[in-house]
Every structure is written in C-alpha cells, then in structure tokens.
C-alpha cells in the first residue's frame, strides 16, 4: 500500500464525503470525518518522510505513462503543503462539532461535514497533482465547497460575501483555465513536468507571455493578493467560525503553493523572473499589501474582520519573500506558509470559542474576557505575539529568514519597511489585548464561562505548536529549505 500513498492522500477524504451522506447522524459523521482527516494527516507525514529520504515520488493514475495519463508528483514542496493542510484540517475539525452546534441549524450538520471534507479533498488534490488541468478540476471542488460553506454563516451578509467570492473565484479559475489553454496550445501537453521541459523552447513567444499573465492573475485572485483581495475580508468574517479557521489557515496557502509551482516549476525561474519583471511588481504589491491591509486591520471593530485583514497583510510577507527569487527568500515564504497556518488556525479557533460563548465578536464583546475565558484569551495573545514576530514563537523564525533574504540581496529599505509593517501588527493585536484585559465588561453583558474542552484542546495544540516550532525549528526549516533548494535545482 505504501506505493499508493499519494493517491490515498486525496482519495480517503474524497470517498469519505459521500459515505457521510449515508451515515445520517451528525455525531457519527463528525467522528467519521475526523478519522478520515486524521488518516490523511498520517499519510502526509509518511509521504513527507518518504520524500525527504528518497526524493520525488511519481504516481501514474490509471497506470498510464506521464504526459498521456494524469500523474501525481510529490516532491518536497507539495509534501510540506499536504502536511500543513491535512494537519490543520484535522485539528480544526476536532472543534467543529461543538462550534457548529450554535452556528448552523441541526438539519444541515451532515452537509457541513461533507462540504468540509470535499473542500479538504480539493485542496489536497490541487497540491498533490502534477497535471495542470487536474489542478483546475480540484480547484473547483475546493472552491464550490468553500462557497457553500461560507454561505452557511449565520448572518445574511454571509450570503452576499459568498456570492462575491463566487464571482471573483470563478473569474480567477476561468483565467487559470485560459492560461492553461494557452500553454497547452504552445506545447501540446498538460503535465507540469513535461511542460517545464517543453516551455523553454517557446518561452520567447507572445502567447506564452499572455498565458503566464493569465495564470498569475488567476492565482492571485485566489490568493487574495493585495489589489485582488476584496472578496476575502467579508468571506472570512461572516463564514461560520470553524470554516474561517480552516480556510484562513489553509486556503490561501494552497494558492501560494500554486503561484510557486507555476512560476518556479512550470514556467521556470529564468522565464518568470528574467523575461517578466515579476520581481519588482510583486515586491511592490507585497509591501503595499502589508501596509494597506495592516492599516485597515487597525480600524476594524469586528475581530474576525481584523484578523482577515491581517491575513492579507501576512500574504504580503509571503509575496515579498517569493519576489526575491532566491533560495533564502523562498525558504522564508515556505516557512511563513507553515507558521502562518499555525498562528491563524489557533487565533480563529480561539475566536470560534469566543463566539460559542459570547455569540458576538465585536471588539466590545471581548471586554473583560481576559478574566472570564483566560485560556482562550491567552491563546489569542500568544497567537498575536506570533503574528508580530516575537522571539520563541514561529512568527519570529519566518521573519528572521525574510530579513536574512532581504539583507542578503541588499534590500535594506525593504527590510526596514517589513519591520515597520510588523509594528502595525503590534497595534491591532494590542487593541484586542487592551479590550480583553484592561477594560471592564459592559454593564449589560452577562458573565461567560471558559470555552469547553473540545475547543481548548485544538486551540492549545496549535498554540503549543506555535511555540514548539518557534524553538525547535529543525523540522520546519529543514523541510522548507530543502523544498526551496530543490525548486532552484540546487542539489543537497
């Protein structure tokens, strides 16, 4: 069975989804999806081990040879991503049962789990596959389930946010489809590895240039990169809290993966960064994104909105690292992918716990919660410190690498800007700390209890991971570095 791990990674959550429909009872379905997601996580660990020791795994679906059939191609980069996605999904799912109890009507719980699993399947499929068109198909699986999940939110704004996301997402996906069509037209193949071999011959054509532009814009729409981010804040803020936790920690990561995969592996480094002025453009957009989004975050009253904007800002950091097109820069981006998943997963889960107890997530509702829900609020604070990049948290590690990458290239002013950007994070994190710890609760609010264990366990699992991987960086750094080096073709 070991040889089939790559496909099992995707197939297990996929097959679990329709089975859920047959199980009927919500509790059973929850347990079942938890097991499916846990299995996927276990497989991803095995895969990562396998890739780190023995290199790229290629799996031919249907037994057809690569450019003719669809290939799953697991290298260090996507094994890392598979680990992040399936790991976060499992941890978040743990809290799902309690959380949706209050946010989603009973008769829709089963559908919720099915869509959740499908969304997970879609993301895993995007990451695992080595076929450009297959990416599109799985992208749509994850997107469609995402639209439905977001629309499940309690308020009517959720519907509107979901609709806007649907429009933007579909435009993005169609752009990717156009781009794939154009490169297919120039090379006659859809397999990513084959594409990377055949594209350099036609790299100088205008068609390939247009294809590149379409793929990048399409991916950036999904990525919520700065000028294309408009769908994200509302979608995150009004979705059910569990969904927010899951997406904030994984969905944009998968899009960043696609960006890296297309620029580095498919189009190739020399094309993406020499022929096209991607570096300057992306660095500028990344920086503007950091500042614009962090500033917006400061002025939000709704805490979920606040952290949604913070997510856009964090994407900016990843983009800056990516735009350097150096091994260290890419390592920084990959590390931040991992680290940001841990922080945002923890923070949004903690917010879910607050919503579960308080019912509302305006800044004012947090008043006095430092005493009433000490463990939950402590988690938000630690997560926030990690966002700022305080040492001994994961945020510091990725910031360190990003700074190294910038200084290595002599981008001093950008390094200063990056650090100033994290000061904005201090401001918005501190608004929450002040509200929670230094303001008396509103008179008309009734006291609340600490969140139940089903929240605290996953929240603190992530928080401990935040600290653990901030101290023991061997695993994350080693994998991220190896992945970055392999993308640059540097042999270890």
């Amino acid at each position: 069975m070991i040889a089939h791990l790559p496909i099992l990674q995707v197939i297990i959550p996929l097959m679990a989804a329709p089975i859920c429909l047959m199980l009927k009872r919500a509790q059973l379905v929850w347990l079942f999806s938890l097991i499916a997601s846990g299995l996927a996580f276990a497989i991803s660990i095995l895969l990562l081990q396998q890739v780190m020791t023995s290199g790229v795994i290629s799996y031919e679906l249907g037994g057809w040879q690569a450019p003719w059939g669809i290939e799953y191609r697991i290298d260090k980069l996507n094994a890392f991503l598979l680990l992040i996605v399936s790991g976060i999904s499992t941890v978040v799912l743990f809290a799902a049962q309690t959380s949706i109890e209050k946010e989603i009507p009973k008769n829709k719980h089963v559908y919720f789990y099915i869509l959740y699993l499908l969304s997970l399947t879609g993301m895993l499929g995007i990451v695992a596959t080595g076929d450009a068109f297959n990416v599109f198909v799985f992208l749509e699986i994850s997107s469609l389930s995402a639209y439905a999940l977001i629309a499940m939110g309690k308020n009517r704004q959720a519907l509107w946010a979901s609709y806007q996301y649907l429009i933007m997402g579909t435009i993005g996906a169609t752009f990717i489809l156009i781009g794939i069509g154009l490169i297919y037209q120039m090379t006659g193949t859809l397999n990513m590895y084959d594409l990377s071999q055949r594209l350099p011959e036609v790299a100088q054509t205008r068609t390939v240039f247009a294809a590149f532009a379409f793929v990048i814009v399409g991916v950036c729409l999904k990525l919520a990169m700065f000028p294309l981010h408009l769908w994200l804040p509302n979608a995150y803020a009004y979705a059910p809290s569990i969904v927010t936790a899951f997406f904030a920690a994984t969905a944009t990561k998968v899009a960043v993966y696609l960006l890296i995969r297309f620029t580095f592996s498919v189009f190739g480094l020399s094309f993406s960064f020499t022929t096209v002025p991607l570096q300057t453009l992306f660095m500028a957009l990344g920086l503007i994104g950091i500042f614009a989004a962090s500033t917006s975050a400061i002025y939000q009253r709704n805490v979920k909105h606040l952290f949604a904007y913070s997510s856009i800002a964090q994407i900016g950091y990843m983009i800056v690292g990516f735009s350097l097109s150096t091994v260290t820069g890419l390592t920084a981006t990959l590390l931040h992918l991992f680290n940001h998943a841990l922080m945002k997963g923890a923070i949004f889960l903690a917010l879910a716990a607050v919503i579960y107890r308080v019912g509302n997530i305006e800044l004012n509702n947090l008043r006095g919660l430092g005493r009433q829900m000490p463990l939950t609020m402590a988690a938000i604070v630690i997560g926030g410190l990690s966002l700022i990049g305080v040492p001994l948290t994961v945020g510091f590690v990725s910031k360190w690498y990003l700074l190294m990458a910038l200084i290595e290239q002599g981008w001093w002013p950008v390094a200063v800007l990056i650090l100033l950007g994290s000061m904005l994070a201090v401001v918005y994190v501190w608004r929450i700390v002040e509200a929670a710890y230094f303001k008396a609760p509103l008179d008309n609010s009734s006291p609340v209890k600490e969140a139940p264990m089903s929240f605290l366990i996953p929240i603190w699992t992530l928080i401990i991971a935040n600290i653990y991987f901030g101290i023991d960086t061997r695993l994350s750094v080693q994998v991220a570095e190896a992945a970055a080096q392999s993308l640059f073709g540097v042999s270890l």
Binding site: A17, W64, I114, L115, N134, T187, G188, F209
Partner: protein
C-alpha cells in the same frame, strides 16, 4: 464558412445579452447562445461536447434561471454602476489575449504542437490500449479518468451545496396546502400531460441508449444522466412537485448521488486491491481490454447515477423554493386584501 456564420451569430447574441434589460429575454438569449455554441462545436468536430453543451447550456441552466427569475422578478434595474472601469479591465484583458494570439498556431493548422505531442498516441493507440472506438470516451474514461472523477465530485459538491442553501424543512399541513393549489393549476394542461406520459418512457429509453452507446458514438454517463433527469423534471413540471416527490423519494436520490461517486471511486479502489495503480482497469479482468471495457462501463454508470440524481436534487430544491415563495406571496396578498 459555417463557423464564421456561427461566430458572428454568437457575437450578435452576446451584444444582445449585454443590452437587454428584461431578464427573461436575457435567459432565453443565453439558451440560444448555448445552442449556437453547441452547433459550433459540431462544426469543430466536437460532437460529444456539443451534445453536452446543448443539454446543459441550453437546457438545464436555462431552466434553472427561469425558475430563479420567477422568484426574483424579471426586470434589471437600469443603471450600470461602473461601466468605465469595467471597460478598462475588459480592454486590457482582451488586449493581452489578442497580443497572445500573434504567436499562436493558426486555426486548423495540422502542425500545431497540440497535434504533435500527446494527442497522436490517443488517436493511434487507443484502440489497441483501451479498445473503444470513441477516442473521447477512451481519453475521458481511461487515460484521464481521474479528471472525470473530479468532475463527478464537482457535481456532487454542487448538489450538496444547493441542498444546504435551499432545502427547506416545512410543516406537513403547509405542504398539503401548497400541493393542493398546485395540483389544481396543473390540471389545465391535460393534453400535454397525456402526451408527456407517453413520451417519458421513450426518454428513459433514450437515456439508457446514450449511457451505453458512449463507447461507439457521442454520449456517455453525463449526457445520459442529464437526459434521465430531464424526463423526471418534465414529469414534475406537468404533474406537480408533490406527485413527483411521491414517485421519487428525496432521500433516495441523495443516496444515489453518493452511490454514484462511490461506485466510480471503488473501481479505482478495486484496481488498487489488484495491485494496479488507481483506475488501472487492466487489472480488473484477466484480459486488459476486457478490463478496460468493464472499468469504463462501471464508471460511466457512476457518472450517470450521480449526474442524474444531482440534476434532480438541484431542480427539486429550486422548484421547492419557488413553491414556498409563491405560497408566501399568496398568503401575503390574502392578508393585505
């Protein structure tokens, strides 16, 4: 030549869609757009695609939109809020694409890269490797079976999504009241009802034909599923949703949708069990070609089941909502009068 004419017509229809304010007309035009592009696909030798586009673009999606318009009203408000930025974006995007076309292989050129790499093997060897005359079917169901699996999952996802959004838990007495009103309405179309009753078995038969004939000509699980669902939808429209619901249990169709996906997936799992890769049909039987045939047959069934049941789920959800909507309107009117 025919393609130029069709394209010109398409452009005309597209412009009409932009300019029309009446949503009913827009939806009808969209149906025409679907039909025209289906015809264009025939001219481009893509018969399978044409079949599907006609069933989906002109059929199902038009139907769904009409149901929605019945609920939301058919007038578009006149102001277009941001025509200028939109025009800019469109011009830039279009300009980029046109810029891209200059290095493209020419239309219909046989020496284009796509005809030189990958595709020749499908054309030359698929008969020996898969044993199905319709190359589209062999690529769809065997070479790229996983894409098609993904497609089935997409449809399944859409079905579940629509269910979460639109399913209504209604009280029993409400349901009876609604259905009694509807039944009285449907009694008017007596002639059509009788004709339809005679037609429906033949539609089913045709669906089965398309299902199994996919190996040799255009068709396959997807088209068959849509046709099958169309028959049921026709029945529901003429005899009332409630009657249709009595014939086809809602839980049951959901189950079939799930079974379809599982059937498709288990073909892959079985090939795993037999030491083949996922979806390697060769290992399903002692003879590789026989294995391929068996595999394709099974997964086409899976596709057919899921597509047919999801189409029904979607239609019933929309129509159920429409019913509720009309009922509420009527109650409101009664109260106000």
């Amino acid at each position: 030549m025919i393609d130029i004419i069709l394209l010109t017509l398409l452009v005309v229809v597209a412009i009409a869609i932009i300019r029309m304010k009446d949503l009913f007309a827009v939806v009808m035009l969209l149906g025409i757009y679907g039909l025209l592009s289906a015809s264009f696909f025939v001219a481009m030798d893509a018969v399978d695609v044409a079949f599907t586009e006609a069933a989906v673009g002109a059929g199902i999606s038009t139907l769904l939109m009409l149901v929605v318009i019945a609920m939301t009203g058919r007038k578009e408000k006149t102001n277009r809020h941001k025509p200028l930025p939109a025009l800019c974006i469109v011009l830039i995007t279009g300009g980029l694409l046109i810029y891209g076309t200059f290095d493209m292989p020419h239309f219909g050129a046989a020496d284009a890269p796509i005809h030189q790499h990958v595709a020749p093997r499908y054309i030359n060897d698929s008969m020996a490797e898969v044993g199905v005359p319709n190359i589209v079917t062999s690529v769809l169901a065997s070479y790229r079976a996983f894409d098609t699996f993904g497609e089935v999952v997409v449809i399944f996802t859409a079905g579940i999504g629509v269910l979460t959004l639109l399913s209504v838990a209604r009280r029993k007495e409400d349901a009876e009241k609604i259905s009694s009103i509807n039944d009285s309405m449907h009694e008017q179309h007596l002639v059509i009802r009788i004709v339809a009753k005679m037609l429906i078995p033949f539609i089913f038969l045709f669906a089965l034909y398309v299902q199994f004939h996919g190996d040799f000509g255009p068709g396959g699980g997807f088209q068959a599923g849509v046709i099958f669902a169309a028959a049921i939808i026709l029945y529901a429209m003429l005899f009332g949703l409630n009657t249709a619901r009595k014939v086809i249990n809602q839980t049951f169709i959901q189950l079939i949708a799930a079974v379809g996906v599982l059937l498709y997936g288990s073909v892959g799992i079985v090939s795993l069990m037999n030491d083949g890769n996922f979806f390697n049909y060769n290992v399903l039987a002692s003879d590789p070609i026989a294995g391929q045939h068996l595999g394709i047959l099974l997964i086409e069934w899976g596709v057919g089941c899921t597509v047919a049941s999801v189409m029904m789920i979607i239609f019933f959800s929309f129509a159920g909502r429409l019913e509720l909507h009309q009922h509420n309107e009527r109650v409101k009117n009664q109260e106000s009068s």
